[in-house]
Symmetry: C2
DNA sequence: TTCAAATCGGACATACATGTCTATGATCCA
DNA sequence: TGGATCATAGACATGTATGTCCGATTTGAA
């Protein structure tokens, strides 16, 4: 479904939304979240470039959210790591599949895809953090 | 979503359900469906081993459905090519995610996953063939 | 009985996702 | 000013999905 980079990115940003704007080191995040350190470094570098995360070098540095957790949705994270193709492409992989020229699953897949997109679009990091605790 | 092997398998089996039990060569299928020939060979070999397809060597040989198109669902194809993990695993990749210990998306993801599973489970090859034509 | 058509099995090749390492530069503190 | 702590960039390594090739075997027909 979501690739690993995306999963790590979401989990990391949820964790960052609990640090009240303080910088957290990649090392600490990697250990807390059980994500390979060097891999997480790469992901965070991308999130910095894409504007979701701020970074600071040196002692006491690390990364933090660039915006408040209420302003960032899951879908924004998917877009930042370029993992949205599955929200647009045909289930059976037909490049020319569309409303006029549908594959067998096309019309039933539309509403499902909408719900998936909605799932990620309607929850902010702040809400996800809450959901994690309440169950 | 579905990996390429699965997409090719479904497309091929839908095509085979239009051949009235006649053997069709892998070469012909590959050209008709625009699927790489050697790759399709591998997929069909697996479908033969898994019991969805019959094969016969030699002139006039090829592959055909082992059962009638009304008896095979999309989900059976997913299972035959071992592409069902996404129907069972956590959206965020947590191995320990479950009803008692849910990830933030868990409870909302359940109904969506059910609809996806239902989509594949409720349509037979015969129906998919029909849907393809009617749009 | 020979030849061509077809699958089958295993090996090989390539692309992309995932994971790892090293050198560099920035920042803070003693 | 020097050393420790941090992110950054690029290169490297591994694994899995995807795609390709070849020799062996079976089958049908001339």
């Amino acid at each position: 479904m979501l690739n690993r980079e995306t999963q790590y990115a979401i989990r990391t940003l949820i964790a960052l939304s609990e640090s009240n704007g303080e910088y957290v080191s990649t090392r600490a995040l990697a250990e807390q979240l059980n994500i390979p350190y060097f891999f997480l470094s790469k992901i965070l570098q991308k999130l910095v470039r894409r504007g979701l995360v701020d970074s600071r070098k040196g002692l006491g540095g690390g990364v933090r959210l660039r915006h408040s957790p209420e302003e960032i949705t899951g879908l924004m994270v998917l877009e930042a790591v370029d993992d949205t193709e599955f929200l647009e492409s045909c289930v059976l992989g037909f490049p020319q599949c569309n409303d006029q020229n549908p594959c067998p699953y096309h019309h039933e897949w539309g509403p499902i895809r909408s719900r998936i997109q909605e799932l990620f679009a309607t929850h902010t990091l702040a809400e996800l953090r809450g959901l994690q605790e309440s169950g």
